[in-house]
Amino acid sequence: MQLIELRDIYKTYHVDELPVPVLRGVSLAVAEGELVALMGASGSGKSTLMNILGCLDRPTSGEYWLDGHEASRMSTDERAFLRNHKIGFVFQNFNLLPRTTALENVVMPLSYTTEKISDSQARQRAVESLTLMGLADRLDYEPAKLSGGQQQRVAIARALISKPSILLADEPTGNLDSKTSEEVLQLFGRLNTEEGITIILVTHDPGIAKHAKRIIHISDGIIDGQGAADNSSPGTAESRRNVYRPRRFDSGGAQ
């Protein structure tokens, strides 16, 4: 069994009583240890797919198997449990708690865990996680005092603290300059190869997507094509086609 398996996922939003189909039968599988890029223009449905993958949202129909659990029919609390234990999130805008030290930010997810873990153990794990990100000397820094790249690394440390099977990164470099973007992406690559963490990168940027071992293109709510990333040239003809493809419908709630 694959780590992630989507079977014929449909998601339809209702805007003013009008059904707006966002995902129209998406099926895909991600094996453990993969580094996958999910690519698509805005409005293509990649954010919705990402929310479903992250157990934040439920598909209208279809099955979502995550590590042997059927997540699409789970209750809210069960999905919260899955998010806590199996999934780590990295966001475009970092989403760190303001006026809270890096260490506290990283420890935060552990306060919702069902694991029996003492406070000192939790802190120990947070320190390890931050050290892995190269932030051992920034434990007591508040986000405002950290650079963008450092903030994103704190966010990644936070995502890794509960030892998830999957790391979901939604435009993780969107707010970073190209140099720090490169660093963060290399970090992802290292986490993937050295720690064996499955990573799903959601992006619209083919330059980012090329760091992945496999690229899944999505447009208009269906999988448009997938294939191994061509690491030699930034942005294949296919990916470029997907990026600049005009939108079929307005973003209305689907993004």
Partner: protein, 457 residues
Amino acid sequence: MKISRTFRTALRALRRNPMRATLTTLGIVIGVAAVIAMMEIGSGSSAMVQNSIAGMGANSILVLPGAAASGGINFGAGSVMTLTPGDCDAIIRDCPAVRSVAPVVRTRGQVVYGSRNWIPSSMYGTTPAFLDVRDWTTMAEGEVFTDQDVRNSNKVCVIGQTLSRELFEGQSPVGKEVRVMNVSLKVVGVLSPKGANMMGMDQDDIILAPWTTIKYRISGQSTANTSQSSSTSSSSSSINTLSQLYPTSQLNLYPVPSATQAADTPQPVRFANVDQIMVAARATADIPVAIKQMTAVLRERHRIHNGETEDFNIRDMTEMLKTLTATTGLMTNLLLCVALISLVVGGVGIMNIMLVSVTERTREIGLRMAVGARARDILRQFIIEAIILCLMGGAFGILLGHGGSYLVKFFLHWPVKTSPAAIISAVLVSAGVGMIFGYYPAWKASRLDPIEALRYE
């Protein structure tokens, strides 16, 4: 999620915005402070009112003679003289709850000194214990007459401030002789001022003399004539035909009742009877016990069998005490209501700020949900934040209220009494306010959709 962690999370969230937290709690601080100050000042005044009533003789119990009935006609309370100085002795001897006891013989008449005269509102014949019963032991000048004076019915008296002013105009009355209904009494002492009583009657307008003097020398010209011994006894003369049996002027305290006498009245009329007996209980709480003991003693002494009506009435001032305490209690409750309203207002303030806080922290809530917080974790976190705010407000309020009432005590000299009940209830109420008014914002936070919340700007 462990409750201690929730607590720390909530504290950390509050610490991120200390100014807002402080301002939010201000409403609760003021509310609780008001409650505490009101309760302390209220219970202080209540205690003072009780004390001053005790000073007016709230601990005192009045024993009045009972009603006489003849031929089916009841003459009302005090119509038969049944109380004697012997009853006084028995009460003080046999009732442990009684502090002191004094017989009282009342009359009314003109007091003359030189060219001045005055009719005091109270002219009492009693024993020195009277002043102890009335909590009036300090003398402005001179001394009280003694038990010896009472035994010998010496012609001495003690006068109140008003009488002293009216008759002596600033001179010292001690050693002077005043005439009371043509009997010369030597003034041995002047009472300290006591002022008006609750009904506005001047308590200093008084003359006290040994009861034997009043009874045998002043009120009744003929000492054995009990029918004229006091104004209240006039009605008893109609059934007391014994005055004709003893027309002599000899002092005979306990005459042997004749057969006619025994047949005419169920109780032998004692010639040494008194108009009333004033009793002071050891404490306000002892009043019911004292009444019980006195009833038993008097029933036995007056040979009243089970089922027979008593020939005396015992009255206490508890009712007065209760009324006044109730009044103070009413005031305290009224102020408490006002204070509670301010607590509710404070609670609304908390709710307001919590709602703002929830909106402002939408992204944080979304993030917490994304990393695995369940709706109930969020609910709990925000409720605990509200409770912490309210409890901190409560703690500061208690300090402030306590300090405030202390200042009132210090500067205004109002009586203040620390009330643990007020403190406990203030803590409970503030926690309750936090829970009630924090619930809605917390519920709103817990119902957020994590996807929407994460995208919130």
